[in-house]
Each structure stands twice: as C-alpha cells, then as structure tokens.
C-alpha cells in the first residue's frame, strides 16, 4: 500500500475563548485573566488518508471538522500532535478562497495560484483553461468586488483544480453555485479520483459522502467518533444526530460459534424503551444462542459515555463466577441497581467470548443506546414511599 497522503497523529487544537472578547488593551488590562476559557476544538484526533482516496469528513456543526481541515491545510497550527502531508495541496474553504476585492479577476488568479505554489509561467499556461472553466471570459478584467458570490466560487474552484493539486481539500463549496456548475464540479472531482488524486471532503450532504467517498470519518465534540466505510459512518452520524437506531448498522465481529440473539435494556417500568432517570435501576438482558456446544462461555457488557466514548461501567459472567455450561439458548440478566452517572446518552457494547482463551465469538460494539435524564427536583412529584407507624402511648 502507498504511504498515506495525510497522516494526522494525535492532533489537538485549543482555542482561547474570551467571554466578552476584550480586543482592546484597556479591557484586557481591566479584566482578570480568568475570563479566558480553553475550548478544545480537537482532541487527540488520529487518522490517515490514503493516497488517491476520497475521504469524507462529517459531523454536526461545531464538531471540529472544519478546524481539522484547516489544520491539515496549514491555516491553523495544531496545539499538539503532528500532521504530515505529501504532495501539493489546495484548499477550498467557503466562498472565494482568498480573493482581494480591489484586484481584477486576472490579478487574483495569479495571486491565488502563487499561494498554491504555482509560478507565474505555470499560471500563464493554465490561465485560459481556468477562465474557461469558471465561465468568466467577459469579466476576468473586472475587479472582483463586482463579482457575484457564484462567480467567486466558480473562479476559486477553477483555480484550485487547475493547479493540479495532489491533495484537494473541499469544505462545503460544492453546495453553492447553480446546479449546472455543481454538476461540473462533481465531474471534476470524479476526474480527480480517476487520476489518483487525494480528496478530503467536508460536508453536511451525507448522501454525497456515500456516493463519492472511499472512506469517511465522523467527528463529535472534537473527537474522532467513527471511521470506516462511508455508509457505516453516515449511519452512525444519523444515529447520533437524530437518535435514530438503525438495526442494519451493526459493527460486529466474532466467529459466531455462539451468537447474541437479542439484547434488551429494561428500564425500571419494565419497558425496553424510553429514557431513565439518574439513579434508576437498569437491567441489561442478553439472550445467547450456542450454535455448537461450547465450554467456558463468557458473556459481558460495557456501558460507554456517549459524549466521551469512555467505558464507565462493565461486568461479565465470569467475574461473578458463573459457569454457563453448554446450552442451546439462555438469557443473562445484568442488573444495575442504580445508574449513577451524569445525564446524557450511553452506549452498550455486548460480547461473547471464551473465558480461558479470550477468543471472541460475537461482539456488538456500541449497538445499543439509552438516555439518562436528571432526576427531577421540583417540577414533578415523585412517588416517595412513606412508612406509617402507630404506637400506643
């Protein structure tokens, strides 16, 4: 396999947020230092983008995907970690990638191309193609301040694709411009794919990701939440974004001598749906089927914090010294007396393995989800058992 075109190794990016944004010296002197807050836009992100592949980067607003793209482009500097990138890179971030309004389209093309590493002579050679692609023949000697936003995007895209970058970073620009130009851009992206160039695409258009990307990653609160096949990652994205469970999306592994037949997360009211309150009891019911006789079967589960992806709780039958023996179908109940953690979303991972060899029969990673609400304080009345005693005096 080729060396990756982009290697992102443990990259974090910290921003300082000033609550009142004191941008003048006076405010700065008068306000205490504690006003500055740290905000981690990226935390320990690690991923590789293979040479010649098309990589989709998704996540909700504020998840850090644009920050990551800007770090890869070299516009922002990571606070820690390193990014290695091979080949000429062009980045298309939002509208009009760095045009100066007072200069003409022609001058901006030259200025822009020099930022992308093209010499004057190389730009001369590509100039007519750029103008033709942008469909701006009649306006190229007008100042850019008279351009419409669509014209700016067209010119920006035209320059970026004509410098023949080895790596092209695209942030949402495909969503602007008229439909005909969008189709033209997509065509050009496909041509780039055929020519073996690397593309990183940041977008909210999840269907585009499935359609044109080879791999995808999802960022969530600045952390890498999922990485893999675009369809899987997009499903995961919809899962997290909309809270919609998609039974088809099962990151599973194992050799399946034993199988997880069914998993239910039983709430205190006996239902396997709905949220629980903090401190409520919770039962995780796992139905296990042995496809062939097995000794030493171990059933386990783990609960992961949906925000941080860290395991907060786990248990296994072997730890309780339970020998399940050989069977056809059994039901295992893990009863959590009181779920103590913060309100939020929690994932459940369930696994079957051999307690002595550790061999995995069947693992469903973060397939199940439940939500915890804070216990109500004054808003609602809660049933509180009150004991009554009467004494003779």
């Amino acid at each position: 396999m080729n060396a990756p075109a982009i290697e992102v190794a443990d990259v974090s990016k910290r921003f300082r947020i000033y609550r009142d944004k004191p941008t003048s010296l006076k405010q700065r002197v008068l306000s205490s230092r504690s006003r500055a807050e740290d905000f981690w836009a990226l935390r320990g992100v690690a991923l590789d983008v293979g040479e010649g592949s098309t990589f989709g980067l998704i996540g909700h607003n504020g998840s850090g995907k644009t920050t990551l793209l800007k770090c890869v482009a070299g516009i922002l500097r990571p606070t820690s970690g390193t990014i290695r990138q091979r080949g000429r890179l062009a980045a298309l971030l939002e509208l009009g990638a760095g045009f100066h309004p007072e200069l003409t389209g022609r001058e901006n093309v030259y200025l822009n191309a020099s930022f992308l590493g093209l010499s004057r002579r190389q730009t001369d050679a590509a100039f007519d193609d750029i103008v033709a692609f942008a469909e701006l023949e009649d306006f190229i000697d007008n100042e850019v301040k008279f351009y419409s936003s669509g014209m700016l995007v067209r010119l920006g895209f035209a320059v970026a694709v004509h410098v023949k970058p080895d790596v092209l970073l695209i942030d949402e620009v495909l969503a602007v411009g008229d439909e005909a130009f969008q189709a033209k851009c997509l065509d050009r992206v496909r041509a780039f794919q055929r020519e073996g160039r690397t593309i990183v695409l940041v977008t909210h258009a999840l269907d585009t990701v499935i359609e044109i990307c080879d791999r995808a990653a999802m960022l969530h609160h600045g952390e890498l939440h999922a990485i893999g096949m675009p369809a899987d990652v997009v499903r995961e994205m919809r899962y997290v974004l909309l809270g919609v469970t998609d039974p088809n999306f099962v990151p599973e592994e194992g050799t399946r001598e034993a199988e997880i037949a069914e998993v239910q997360i039983v709430r205190p009211n006996g239902s396997s749906e709905g949220a629980i309150l903090r401190g409520d009891p919770l039962t995780i019911v796992i139905d296990v089927r042995q496809n062939e006789p097995l000794d030493d079967l171990d059933v386990d589960f783990a609960v992961l914090d949906g925000a941080t992806n860290h395991a907060v709780l786990d248990a296994r039958t072997s730890r309780a010294d339970l020998d399940l023996g050989r069977f056809e179908k059994k039901r295992v109940r893990f009863r959590i007396e009181a779920f103590p953690y913060e309100p939020g979303k929690y994932w459940v991972t369930v696994g079957l393995s051999n307690r002595t060899t550790g061999h995995l029969y069947h693992v469903q990673t973060q397939r199940y989800l439940f939500e915890v609400f804070d216990a109500p304080r004054v808003q609602e009345r809660v049933e509180v058992p009150v004991a009554v005693e009467v004494e003779d005096l």
């Binding site: 516009i75 009009g96 760095g98 001058e107 020099s114 930022f115 010499s119 023949k164």
Partner: protein, 303 residues
C-alpha cells in the same frame, strides 16, 4: 506542458520555529511576497490616475517647500532640504512600514482565513511597499543632490549601506511585533499613531543633531551617572537617522555655519552606534519573529 513532479512533504509547524527552516520556507514563498507587494502597490494606487507619481510627489513638494522656507525654519542649517530629506526618507520607510504592517494581518483577513502560507509575509510585504517608496524618494533626493551641485561626500557615503541595513532590520523587527500584537489588541494601531508622532519629534529630522548634543552636554551632562547624550541615543531611530545624515549630508560643520549641525563626533563613532543598534535590532527581530510565529498559528481564528 508537463508539470514538475517534485513531491512536497509538509509537516505541521511546531510551536517553536527553527530559524534555518523558517528562512527556507520564506525563500520558497518569495513569489508570494513579490505578488503581495505588487498587490499592495496596486491597491494603494487603485483608481488614482497618477499612481506611483504620488509617492515621488511627496518628497518633491518637501524639497520645493523647504527650499523656500529653509531660511525661516531651517534654524541655521545650511542646505536644509538635503539635511531634512536624508533623515525624513528613512523615517518615512520606518513609519509607513509600521503603520501598514500593524494592519497587515487584519487587512488580509480573507487570505489568512482561507490560504496557508508563511504569515510573516504579510508584515514583510508592508515593509516591501515601504521600500519601493523609499527607493523612488531616494532617487528624487539623489537627483536633487547632484543637480543642485551639493554632491556626494565619499568617505561618509560608505556609511549608507550600514545605515540602510540597520534601518531595515529595525523596521522589520517592530513591524513583525506590532502586526502580531494588533490582531489581539486592536487599539495597538491607534496607540502606534500617537507613539509615532512623539517618536518623530524625538528624532533629529527637522532639527539639528548638534542642538541636542549641545543641550545634553551642557550643564552637568549626566543623569544618574549616565551621559545624557547616551540616553538620547537609546532611541534607535536617532542612531539610524544620524547614520543617514552622516552618509548623505556629509559634513559635521558646513562652511558658513557657526556651529556643527551633525553630532560633533568621528565617523567611526557614528559607525559604532549604528553597529550597536544593528546588533540590538537583530536580537529584536529574533524575538519579534518568535512572538509573531507563536501567535500566527491562531490568526485564522482570531480575525
């Protein structure tokens, strides 16, 4: 045409710059620098009919005006236009670079937010624009000096390169520093305008150097044991302007003048204070550069 197939490998910048590596990156980006200087000049004179003529007009008008009012204002300095302009041109480079350099990152926000390049280029381009004006204005001065018959003074003229390099290094240091500072504290720009006004009058451009020396060495001549003239020389622009005066005005005590105009010191002394200023400025560039670099990683977010 076949594009050159060199493989560029890039690693994200570490928070602490290495001078050699940074210089190599800047050298690789020289085309961007040239383009930016061209752009700034174009924008500066955009929609003006005369264009760069305006830049030359400024010293021309000074020459004309001061040739006439020198008798009144010149404070007894013979050939006052030469004295004034040799210092003023240096000052113009210094103040114009700092003024536009302080705004360089802010004014180019759309570039900083969208494209990756060595951010140092922005303040450096401001200095570059100042240099173009400096060259045009120096040509005017040179022409005047030759045409008016004032002439060049040879041993003194050798001081010019040293004075010029010192001016350039000093300007680069302060421009880098102010442009980084201005991103976070926007009123640095206003502060700078006032500071430059005071600074201008603290530098012997309009008045004779010797007047200051006379005042400083009269009376006790020291303050807390330090010679008062040395305190005056702490202003680096005094040393730089003294260098330009000595190189272009040439004579310490012109014929027909009752007392010296320039510092009544030897040529070696002027070269000495220039060298010290140059060394301090070089150290200053290193620190200002380090500060600029450490801040530049977040420019795209702070604009």
């Amino acid at each position: 045409m076949a594009a050159p197939t060199q493989t560029v490998e890039r690693t994200s910048e570490s928070p602490h710059p290495r001078v050699g590596e940074r210089l190599r990156i800047l050298a690789a980006h020289r085309e961007i620098l040239a383009n930016l200087v061209r752009k700034e000049l174009k924008v500066k004179y955009a929609a003006s009919v005369l264009g760069a003529v305006w830049s030359v007009l400024n010293p021309l008008v000074y020459l004309a005006v001061f040739s006439f009012v020198a008798k009144v204002l010149g404070a007894g300095i013979p050939n006052y236009p030469v004295y004034l302009l040799s210092g003023l041109l240096a000052w113009n480079l210094f103040s114009a670079s700092m003024g536009s350099g302080a705004r360089a990152v802010l004014d180019n926000a759309n570039l900083v937010k969208k494209v990756a390049f060595a951010r140092e280029i922005l303040p450096l381009a401001a200095v570059g624009v100042g240099l173009v004006d400096f060259a045009l204005q120096s040509a005017v001065l040179l022409l005047y000096v030759i045409v008016s018959g004032y002439g060049l003074h040879l041993p003194e003229l050798a001081l010019w390169p040293l004075a010029f390099v010192t001016l350039l290094v000093l300007t680069v240091a302060l421009t880098l520093w102010f442009s980084a500072l201005n991103v976070r504290y926007r009123d640095v720009g206003h502060l700078l305008n006032i500071a430059l006004l005071v600074w201008f009058w603290a530098t012997p451009i309009v008045y004779a150097e010797f007047q200051v020396q006379d005042l400083a060495e009269g009376g006790r001549g020291t303050w807390l044991g330090i010679p008062r003239l040395a305190l005056y020389l702490l202003n680096p622009m005094v040393d730089v302007v003294a260098g330009f005066h000595r190189a272009l005005y040439g004579t310490v005590t012109p014929i027909g003048s009752p007392e010296p105009v320039l510092f009544d010191k030897s040529l070696a002394w002027v070269a000495g204070i220039l060298t010290i200023t140059l060394i301090v400025s070089l150290v200053g560039v290193r620190f200002a550069w380090g500060y600029f670099f450490s801040r530049s990683g977040d420019f795209a977010e702070e604009l």
